[in-house]
């Protein structure tokens, strides 16, 4: 079992930026009438999502999120020792987006920067990677971005995904603080045999872009996709998501002797309400301790846990230490669970791009 404990690092601040344009699932052109739309909303809990305009990238949203956070915290860009960019909708095939972000954010030229191309498990994975680099003791301050423009790498005529996914960027500020920090505990999981449950088959080295991969094809009645678009096999994802995340959280609880009664917040990747409620009930955590933001923002993949914290737990996290469990799960198939404490966190209101 791969498990990890990191000491001396705390979450100092968090922010989120979403595009201004909202797409309401009730009026999507993919349904024959509103009652069909309401049925999907009832089962997923997702009413609408934010969507970037043409030409806007995840990095554009991220710059806003990071700048808003630094400003609110009183950190200068030069204070940042490490910058990690969790995102699969990168600006270019090369270079890494984090390098370009160093210049755009005016980070130091000796800042440690890197991309982490994770999906829905990305914030939890990213936290463990950045915090463990910091725990060596020389990086004092770090920024972890988790951002995605899901409406750009999925086909708007793919009826299975259009109502579910949205765009958002988040920034998490981490600080080396042996006095205030409490241990963070992590558990990991992966099932590479399920790689084609969520994937984009064309555009990489295995299947390079061809003329044919850019042609839209009807993949099921009324639903269209190109070879380069992301495929989400709903049934495969669902079967995985109701099984592995509860197991992973239960492993976390058992391994680190967590008293579930003392947990203040269960922060789940916002997949859909049906899946997340099944996970919550399996862990036996009350509904009032499990915040959701998917009704407003949809599934924003790696950004969904931090967006939930920023948009739904702002006041709670600004106060006393809260005992939290988070679980990210999805594309890979990969998942990760985490126990941590957060309090006195600086969180500006959700920023609009």
């Amino acid at each position: 079992m791969s498990q990890l404990t990191i000491n001396n690092v705390r979450i100092a601040g968090m922010s989120a930026c979403v595009p201004a344009t909202v797409e309401d699932n009730r009026t999507l052109p993919i349904y024959k009438d509103e009652s069909e739309a309401l049925k999907v909303i009832a089962s997923t809990g997702i009413e609408r999502h934010h969507k970037v305009d043409d030409g806007v990238t995840a990095s554009d949203l991220s710059v806003k999120a990071v700048e808003g956070l630094l400003q609110q915290m009183g950190w200068e860009p030069q204070d940042v020792d490490c910058f990690a960019y969790v995102c699969t909708s990168r600006d270019y095939i090369a270079p890494q987006t984090a390098c370009i972000m160093q210049d755009r954010l005016k980070l130091r030229s000796d800042c440690c920067v890197f991309d982490l191309p994770f999906g829905c498990s990305g914030w939890v994975y990213g936290m463990s990677i950045v915090a463990s680099l910091m725990s060596h003791g020389t990086f004092k301050r770090a920024i972890l971005v988790a951002a995605e423009t899901n409406t750009r790498n999925r086909n708007p005529r793919d009826t299975a995904v259009r109502p579910l996914f949205g765009d958002a960027a988040t920034a998490t500020a981490l600080e080396l603080d042996p006095e205030l920090a409490r241990p963070m505990n992590f558990m990991y999981g992966v099932d590479g045999a399920g790689f084609d449950a969520v994937w984009a088959p064309y555009g990489g080295m295995r299947n390079p872009v061809t003329y044919e991969s850019l042609e839209e094809k009807e993949v099921s009645p009324g639903s269209f996709r190109r070879g380069v678009d992301m495929i989400v096999n709903g049934m495969d994802v669902f079967g995985f998501a109701i099984k592995q995340p509860p197991r992973s959280i239960k492993e976390l609880i058992a391994t680190f002797n967590i008293d579930v009664e003392t947990v203040d917040l269960l922060l789940l990747h916002q997949a859909n309400k049906f899946i997340d409620e099944k996970i919550r009930k399996a862990i036996k955590i009350p509904a009032e301790k499990t915040p959701y933001c998917l009704e407003e923002y949809g599934n924003v993949t790696s950004a969904s846990i931090p967006l939930t914290m920023v948009s739904r737990c702002r006041e709670q996290l600004a106060g006393d230490m809260k005992h939290c469990i988070a679980c990210g799960f999805g594309v890979g198939l990969a998942w990760a669970s985490m126990e941590f404490y957060a309090g006195g966190v600086t969180i500006p209101e959700v920023i609009t791009y």
Binding site: K39, V40, G234, M235, D236, F238, G239, F240, K243, K278
Partner: protein, 81 residues
């Protein structure tokens, strides 16, 4: 594993289709009420009742209720070993 019980669990997932319209040989995808949402509820039922992870192919490759039952029965046996 009991086929009768499985059929009862399966029939319980439908709102409008009466339970007696569903038996071992029913081609479930031809039922009027069958939809992608009912498919998800089958996956959830198999997880809850039998602790088995169903994948999309399991449903795609099955035609009758008994086909589904057979997949679950084989997996349950595998888990026991």
């Amino acid at each position: 594993m009991n086929l009768e019980q499985f059929i009862e669990n399966f029939a319980g997932l439908f709102d409008e289709t009466p339970p007696d319209a569903i038996n071992a040989g029913t081609h479930f995808k031809e039922l009027e009420e069958w939809s992608s949402l009912v498919a998800l509820s089958v996956i959830a039922m198999v997880d809850e009742e039998y602790d088995i992870e169903f994948r999309g192919d399991d449903i795609r490759d099955s035609q009758t209720v008994e086909d589904l039952f057979n997949i679950v029965a084989v997996r349950v046996e595998e888990e026991e070993f």
